[in-house]
C-alpha cells in the first residue's frame, strides 16, 4: 500500500534530523538539569558525591558570577533600548530619502557580515591606550579638550562604555534592516491621509508610524534581550579570553570558564549557571510578552 510506503519514506527522511536533535539537543537538555544537581562531580572519574542544590548556591555566591551577572544586566539594559532606538532613527531617516539610499543601506549592513572577533580586535586597538600611543579615540577626545582614558585596561565605566558601544555597533545592522523593511510595509496612504489633515510630523510618528510598526519593535526588543543576555564573544573580542581578570565577564562567559580553560573542569557549576541564565531569559521574555499584549497594536 502506498500509505505504508509513504510513512516509511517520511520516517526515513526525518531520521537524520531526529538522530541529531536527540543526541545534541534533547539529551543534553535533560542532562544539564541532572548535572546541575550532582554535587562534587569529578570530570576525570565521572563520579559525584550526592544530589542537591549546592551547585546553585555555590554559583550564586561566587563573586565572579555576581560580577558577570552585574555586567550582563548593565549590557542588556543599556544596549537593547539604545540600539533599538538608534536603529529606529536611522531607519526613519533611511526611508525618507531616495538618493544614496542603497549606498547607506549597504554600508549600515556591513558589520553584520564581519567576524565580530576580528573587528573587535580593531575596536580594542582604537580604544586602547598603550605606551606607544594613546589610540585613535583618545586623539579625538584630546581634540575636544578631554583627557586620555584607557578604555581597555582602565576604569570600569570606560570599559563598559566600549563594551556597549561595540555591542550596539554589532547588533544595529540587523535591526536597521528589519525596521527599514517594516517601515516600507506601512501603506503610504496613511501618511497621505495624515498630510491632508495637516498632521504635524511628530504626531504622524507617534500616532501612526509607531503603532503600526510596534509589533516589530517588540519583536526586536525581545530578540534583543535574549541576544544581549547571551553576550560573550564580543567581550572576548575586546578584553581577551580571561574576562574574569578584566572584570568584564558575562553569564555565558562564566559558564564557559567553568567548563573549560584555566579555571574549568566544573560542568556541574556550569550547568547550574546555564539554568539560572535560562530562567532569567525566560522570565524576561514572559514579562516582555505580557507588556506587549497591553501596548502593541496587532492587525
Amino acid at each position: 500500500m502506498t500509505n505504508k510506503k509513504q510513512t516509511l519514506t517520511a520516517w526515513l527522511c526525518l531520521l537524520p534530523a531526529i538522530i541529531f536533535l536527540g543526541i545534541f539537543l534533547v539529551y543534553p537538555m535533560i542532562d544539564v538539569f541532572i548535572y546541575s544537581f550532582e554535587e562534587g562531580y569529578n570530570f576525570a572519574s565521572q563520579s559525584y558525591f550526592g544530589l542537591g542544590s549546592y551547585n546553585y548556591s555555590y554559583v550564586l555566591h561566587d563573586p565572579y558570577f555576581i560580577q558577570a551577572l552585574k555586567n550582563t544586566f548593565i549590557i542588556v539594559l543599556i544596549t537593547v533600548p539604545l540600539s533599538t532606538g538608534i536603529a529606529l532613527i536611522i531607519s526613519l531617516a533611511l526611508s525618507s530619502i531616495t538618493k544614496l539610499r542603497e549606498l547607506f543601506q549597504t554600508i549600515f549592513f556591513l558589520p553584520y557580515v564581519t567576524n565580530t572577533l576580528a573587528v573587535g580586535l580593531v575596536f580594542m586597538i582604537l580604544f586602547q591606550k598603550t605606551a606607544y600611543t594613546d589610540g585613535m579615540v583618545n586623539v579625538l577626545i584630546n581634540l575636544f579638550g578631554g583627557e586620555s582614558i584607557d578604555f581597555i585596561d582602565g576604569p570600569y565605566p570606560a570599559k563598559m562604555f566600549v563594551m556597549c558601544f561595540y555591542t550596539i555597533w554589532v547588533v544595529l545592522p540587523f535591526k536597521i534592516l528589519i525596521l527599514t523593511s517594516n517601515l516600507a510595509s506601512v501603506d503610504p496612504i496613511y501618511y497621505k491621509a495624515a498630510q491632508i489633515d495637516a498632521t504635524p510630523k511628530w504626531r504622524v510618528f507617534f500616532k501612526i508610524t509607531l503603532p503600526m510598526i510596534s509589533p516589530m519593535i517588540f519583536y526586536l526588543a525581545i530578540t534583543g534581550f535574549i541576544g544581549a543576555f547571551k553576550a560573550y564573544s564580543d567581550e572576548v573580542a575586546l578584553f581577551g579570553t580571561d574576562l574574569n581578570a578584566a572584570g568584564m565577564n558575562t553569564i555565558v562567559g562564566y559558564i564557559y570558564d567553568m567548563l573549560y580553560g584555566n579555571s574549568g573542569g566544573y560542568p556541574s557549576y556550569a550547568s547550574a549557571a546555564a539554568i539560572i541564565l535560562f530562567a532569567i531569559v525566560f522570565t524576561i521574555t514572559v514579562i516582555n510578552l505580557l507588556v506587549s499584549e497591553k501596548t502593541v497594536y496587532y492587525q
Partner: protein, 402 residues
C-alpha cells in the same frame, strides 16, 4: 469654494526606464468648478482623473499650470494648508484607532487660534457622525466594520474639519452593488446638507450620471466634454463620450452621408439637413448648434457640413442608442435599417433585440424596445426605424460630432 484649474499639466517619469519620454498623466487641463456643486470626474482607468484629484489636494505638484481656490493661488501650497478633505478609495482609516479617534484625528491637529477643547471636539465628532449615520459605531475599530460603514467613517473624517473642498477618490468602488446604490444617494444627501464643493472621481458612468450636478469626461489626460449629465448624454461631442456614457453601450456603425441622406451600409436611414457653418469650432457656437439639433425634424438629422458638398460621399460613424431603435414590421416603408436577427432577451418591461449588421463596428447590436411592441420577423431579418434624437453622427477621421 469655487475651484479654478488653469492649464494643468502633470508629467511622470516613465516607469520603463528605457523609455526616456515622460508619461503625461494630465494634459493642459482647464476647468472651473462652481461653488457648492457636486462634480463627477469620469473616465476609464488611467485617464488621469485621480491625478487631477491629487493635484487639487496638493499631494502632487503640477508640472505646469495653476490651481485657484476662490481667489487664492494654491498651486505651490502644501496639502496641509489647503483645507481639503480627501476620502481615499480604500478609505485609509487608521486601523489601530477606533471610529471616534479616527474622526477626531484631524481636529487634534489644529493649532493656534483654531485649537479646540476636548468638549468642542466631542461635539463636532458627534455632529459629523450623526450626519453620516454612524453614531452607534464610535468605539469600533475599522477592522470590525463593513465596507459601507468604513466608507462613512472615512467621509466623516474628511468632513469633520469643515473642509473648503471635499475630494472623493472612487468612493464607491469597494462596495457591493446594493450598497453602492444606497451609498451614492447618501453621498448626494450629505453634499446637499453641507453645501461643500465636492469633486469625485469614478470610472462608473452610471454613478456619476445619477448624482452629479455636472460631469467632466476625461480621456488620456484631456477633457473630452463637460456639462450636466443629461446634456452630455444627449449631445456627446465625440465618439469617445458617446461610447463611454450609457448602458448598454451605444451601437456604432460605419456610415456615409451622400445624396442628402444618411446611409448605414446600403440602407438609407435618414435625411440629412446640412447647415452651412463657418468652420466654427468654438465651444459656444457648438453649444448653440446643439440646441439647434434638439429640434430635429421627423426622420431627418441636421449636421454641420463644413464643405457644404452634398454630392460627394462622406464617411462617418453613426452611433445609435439602444433605445433609439423602433422595431417595424413593414419592410416597404422608407428609411429602414435591415439587420440580421440573432436572439431576443425579454426583460419584463423591455425587450433586447440582439442582431448584427455588416456595417456594425462591434460584435452585436443591442436594441431595446418596449416589450408590447415586439416585432414580427420576415426571413430572419429585423427592421428598425431610428429616432433622430438618439442618433449621433461623427466624422470618421476626427471622431468629432458633425
Amino acid at each position: 469654494m469655487k475651484i479654478v484649474l488653469e492649464n494643468l499639466t502633470k508629467k511622470f517619469p516613465n516607469r520603463d526606464k528605457k523609455m526616456k519620454e515622460d508619461v503625461i498623466a494630465v494634459n493642459s487641463f482647464s476647468h472651473e468648478i462652481t461653488d457648492g456643486k457636486l462634480i463627477g470626474l469620469l473616465g476609464p482607468s488611467g485617464c488621469g482623473k485621480s491625478t487631477v484629484l491629487n493635484l487639487i489636494s496638493g499631494l502632487e505638484k503640477p508640472t505646469s499650470g495653476k490651481i485657484f481656490f476662490g481667489d487664492d493661488d494654491v498651486t505651490n501650497l502644501p496639502p496641509e494648508n489647503r483645507g481639503v478633505g480627501l476620502v481615499f478609495q480604500n478609505y485609509a482609516l487608521y486601523p489601530h484607532l477606533n471610529v471616534m479617534e479616527n474622526i477626531r484625528f484631524p481636529l487634534e491637529n489644529l493649532r493656534g487660534k483654531d485649537k479646540l477643547t476636548k468638549d468642542q471636539m466631542e461635539v463636532k465628532v458627534l455632529e459629523t457622525a450623526k450626519l453620516v449615520q454612524i453614531e452607534g459605531l464610535l468605539d469600533r475599530k475599522p477592522g470590525e466594520m463593513s465596507g459601507g460603514q468604513q466608507q462613512r467613517v472615512a467621509i466623516a473624517r474628511a468632513l469633520v474639519k469643515k473642509p473648503r473642498v471635499l475630494l472623493l477618490d472612487e468612493p464607491l468602488s469597494n462596495l457591493d452593488a446594493r450598497l453602492r446604490l444606497q451609498t451614492r444617494e447618501e453621498l448626494k444627501r450629505i453634499q446637499l446638507e453641507t453645501g461643500i464643493t465636492t469633486l469625485f472621481v469614478t470610472h462608473d458612468q452610471e454613478e456619476a450620471m445619477s448624482i452629479c450636478d455636472s460631469i467632466v469626461v476625461m480621456k488620456e489626460g484631456r477633457i473630452m466634454q463637460h456639462g450636466a449629465p443629461q446634456e452630455v448624454y444627449d449631445h456627446p461631442q465625440n465618439l469617445f463620450v458617446a461610447k463611454f456614457l450609457g448602458t448598454p453601450q451605444i451601437n456604432v456603425f460605419k456610415g456615409q452621408i451622400r445624396d442628402g441622406g444618411l446611409f448605414i451600409g446600403k440602407d438609407r436611414v435618414m435625411d440629412v439637413n446640412a447647415t452651412a457653418a463657418n468652420g466654427a469650432n468654438d465651444n459656444r457656437v457648438q453649444k448653440e448648434e446643439n440646441i439647434d439639433r434638439v429640434q430635429k425634424k421627423e426622420n431627418s438629422i441636421r449636421i454641420q457640413n463644413k464643405e457644404n458638398e452634398k454630392t460627394v460621399a462622406r464617411d462617418v460613424y453613426v452611433a445609435v442608442r439602444p433605445e433609439g431603435f423602433v422595431a417595424v414590421s413593414d419592410t416597404d416603408l422608407k428609411d429602414i435599417l435591415h439587420c440580421d436577427f440573432m436572439k431576443m432577451e425579454v426583460m419584463g418591461r423591455d425587450t433586447s433585440i440582439i442582431c448584427t449588421h455588416e456595417a456594425f463596428e462591434g460584435t452585436v447590436i443591442r436594441a431595446i424596445v418596449p416589450s408590447e411592441s415586439r416585432p414580427q420577423f420576415i426571413g430572419g431579418e429585423v427592421c428598425f426605424k431610428l429616432k433622430p434624437s438618439k442618433v449621433h453622427v461623427f466624422d470618421a477621421e476626427t471622431e468629432e460630432v458633425l
